[in-house]
Each structure stands twice: as structure tokens, then as C-alpha cells.
């Protein structure tokens, strides 16, 4: 038995035009019926295996995405769905957009498309679950070879207040990050207009 038989998905919309989100929901609907692969669209990061991100990341959503990623138990996989989540897409040069999802969390799978097609999404999930198995396998091998004596993937973790209130999870920090980044539209003249 493998972990890949029951991938539970957490879907989060960074700041997209909602095109990809509609496609994601269409994939979960009876017509494509991803539940036949055991996929469940859960709303809870603590139950999720795959973090499915759509849309570019802006200064408002960056801390949220970070926290969602932190709250997910290991092993976990991040999927960037749609061109905006891959590298920012059409919103890339907006004053408040940091870029793709890989600016804030490590992305394992990039699924391009505008909007991303359900077929591509299913293919992406298939590849994501393969990575999920790989991550678990790597952990097992590391333990066998003695690099690691504790199975950190299965070790119980206690969350503390710091996990929720760290510096990088404040919207102000992300705001600063966008302002210091060299993107057009951040000049003072642009704001005055």
C-alpha cells in the first residue's frame, strides 16, 4: 500500500482571476470524478497532502500561503496550477504581486495553462502523488542508511504560538518585500497618479 492511493487536496487561491479555480472545482465535480483516484478536496490543511495553489502570490496572501504550508503534516507536495501560480503570469508586473507560488513555498509540480485544463490538473495530481511516494521512500532509505535515526515524517510535532506569529507571517513583512523588489510601478510618481 502506498500513500499515493489517498491524496487529499487543499486548494488555495493566491490572487487569480478565478479562471483556474473554476477549472479546479470542475475537476472535483462528478464529470471528471477525481474521487475514483481517492482524491478528496479537503478544506483543512492539517488533513491535506497536496497544497494546490492557483494565481500569483501578493503581499496579502503570502503569509497565508506560508501558514497553510506550515500547518500541513509531512510528507507534503505543493502544486502550482495555472501560469500565474507558476511565475506570476499576466499579473507578474503588478505593484503588489510577488510572483509565482515558488516565491513563498517550495513548489514540486508546475501545471501550466490559462486557465489550467482539468486534464492537465489530473495529470499534475498523478505526478504529485508520485512525488509523495518518493518523499516517503527517501525518508525510509535515509533511516536505513543511518543518516537519520528518527523518522521525522512520523514524529509528532507540537505547534506553539510562534508558529502562528512568526515575523515572516505578518502582512507588513510581505508588504515590505514587495516594495523593496525591483518591479515597475513602485515609483512614487506612479502612486501620485
Amino acid at each position: 500500500m502506498k500513500l499515493s492511493k489517498s491524496p487529499w487536496i487543499l486548494h488555495y487561491d493566491g490572487s487569480s482571476c478565478n479562471g483556474c479555480d473554476i477549472e479546479v472545482l470542475a475537476t472535483m465535480m462528478p464529470h471528471f470524478d477525481v474521487e475514483r483516484f481517492g482524491v478528496i478536496n479537503t478544506g483543512n490543511p492539517k488533513h491535506a497532502d497536496i497544497l494546490l495553489l492557483t494565481g500569483g502570490i501578493n503581499s496579502q496572501t503570502a503569509p497565508v500561503v506560508r501558514q497553510l504550508y506550515k500547518q500541513m503534516p509531512d510528507p507534503k507536495v505543493v502544486m502550482a496550477c495555472g501560469i500565474c501560480a507558476c511565475d506570476g503570469g499576466i499579473f507578474k508586473e503588478c505593484y503588489n504581486v510577488l510572483g509565482g507560488a515558488d516565491q513563498v513555498v517550495p513548489v514540486d509540480i508546475y501545471v501550466p495553462g490559462c486557465a489550467v485544463r482539468p486534464e492537465a490538473l489530473i495529470e499534475g495530481v498523478k505526478k504529485a502523488v508520485a512525488i509523495l511516494d518518493e518523499k516517503q521512500q527517501e525518508m525510509k532509505i535515509a533511516m536505513k542508511q543511518g543518516y537519520c535515526t528518527v523518522d521525522y515524517g512520523r514524529l509528532a510535532v507540537h505547534t506553539t504560538e510562534d508558529d502562528y506569529n512568526s515575523e515572516e507571517s505578518s502582512p507588513e513583512a510581505a508588504q515590505e518585500q514587495t516594495q523593496t523588489a525591483e518591479t515597475p510601478g513602485t515609483t512614487e510618481g506612479g502612486d501620485a497618479e
Binding site: 489517498s6 462528478p30 478536496n41 478544506g43 492539517k46 488533513h47 500547518q71 503534516p73 512520523r154 509528532a156
Partner: protein, 290 residues
Amino acid sequence: MAVSIVVRVILYLLLGPVIGGLLEGIDRIISARMQGRQGPPLFQPFYDVYKLMHKQTIVVNSIQVLFITAYLIFTIFTGALFFGGGDMLLVFFSLSMSEVMLVLSAYSVNGPYSAMGAQRELLQMMCYEPMMLLLAIGFYVAQGSFMVNDLIGADRPAVIALPGMLIGFAFVLIIKLRKSPFDLSTSHHAHQEMVKGLTTDISGRDMGLVELAEWYDATLMMGIVGMFFVTREPVSYLFAILACSVVFFLITLIDNTHPRVKAMRMFGLAWGVILVCAGTNLLILNLIGK
């Protein structure tokens, strides 16, 4: 006699989760077919629990682990008591004890969604507890004993004397198994207004234990439905299994055709059905008996 009790308890310990898991798998397939899709494989619940057992466990408050383990142990204890032929009253008391443990685990994490789920779970308990007590009393009035061992050795099936109780219990079962329209505290379906309610902050191995306890619970509930039909004759077990299948199918059908109701509506409905069906049944039984 003592040996047969041990055998029955061991059989329950081994087969309880298998039957419960298969019931959930069948439930998911039937639901999928009702919605016009293929649905997951039959063994999907087992894959899910295997995965949960092999994932990292995020513990918010250490006491949470104790409560969840206690929930599982009390649920298994309840089932073992029932299938071992124990006292019906004790079965229902320890059943509410196990539920209390789950509620406490949800309260202990201090999360807003968990707390809301726990409050609603308490309300759900309030809805089905009267039925459980009435059922034990009904069995006593009809068959003259609280002991499951005596009840299964009866001359005629209990359902002849307790048809109202069966209807009331089947109704209450929807609340107990947390199926729509009464899945207020936590839902098997994603995206409800309070994330996952009761189980929001339970993850990894702990969540696997909760699922396992729910399987044991489902097996126990089906056992109680079967109790209405079991007599001294071996053929009655066939009727019991048939009745369980019908009740289970009806619950799945209602789950798929009814949207969630508000808490107070559930409260009124549940107590109304219990009073009308089970209460009247008990009243008539008392009048005829005297």
C-alpha cells in the same frame, strides 16, 4: 459460556474495523452512483487510514492524544460489552463516555472551529441520548432483561413488540453516524462553514485512530439494529443482516438527498420522532403488558 464470550469479543475486535471500513467504502460507492459517478474503490477507507497512520502528527495540546486514545478504547470497550453479551444500559453509558472523550479532545485544542464542532457534538448527543435510554428500557419491557445474552435467546424477535423503537433508532442513527442532514459537528464532505468541525485540529495518526473508532462504532450501531431481529433461531441472523442493509441504504439515501438543517431544527425533529415513535411504543407496551 465464558469461552464463547471471549471468542465473540475477539471476533469483534478483529472484524469490527473490517466491517466498519467496508460499510464506509460501500457508502461512498453508493453515494457516488447516486450522483452519477464511478466513485472510489471499495477499500478506499483503508487506504485513507493507512495514509493517515504514516503521516506526521501535529499535536496542538498534549492532552489531546490522551483523549483520542481514550475515545478509541471506550468505543472498543462499548462494542466488546455489547457483542460479549453484556448489559444494554452499561453499553449506552460507556457509549456516551466515549463521545465525551472526543468532545474533550476537541475542546482541549482551543481552536475556534474545534470548539464550535464540540458544542454541536454535545447538542447532537442531547438529541440521541434519550433514544438510547428508551431503547434499553424498551428491550427490558418487551423481553424482560437488560442483558444482551438473554435478548438474543428470545422466542420472538423484539421488532414485533418494538416497531416504533426501530424507527426512532434508525432516525437517531443518522445523527449518531453524523450523516447529512444532521452532520453538524463534523462532515464527511469537504467545505463546510467550520472547516472540519470536531476533527479540525486532529491530524495524522490521531485522525487515523478517530476513523478506526468510527468504524468500530458503525459496527456496533449495525449490531444494535440487528438486535431487533435476532432470536433463538439461527435463521433470524439472516433477517438481522437484511434489516441492517436496508437501514444502512436508507441512511445513505437520506444523506444524499437532504441538505444540512439548523441545530434547533435537528433538536426538534429528533425529540419529536423519539417522543412519537419510541414514547408511544413504550406506552402501548406498558398498557398491554399490564
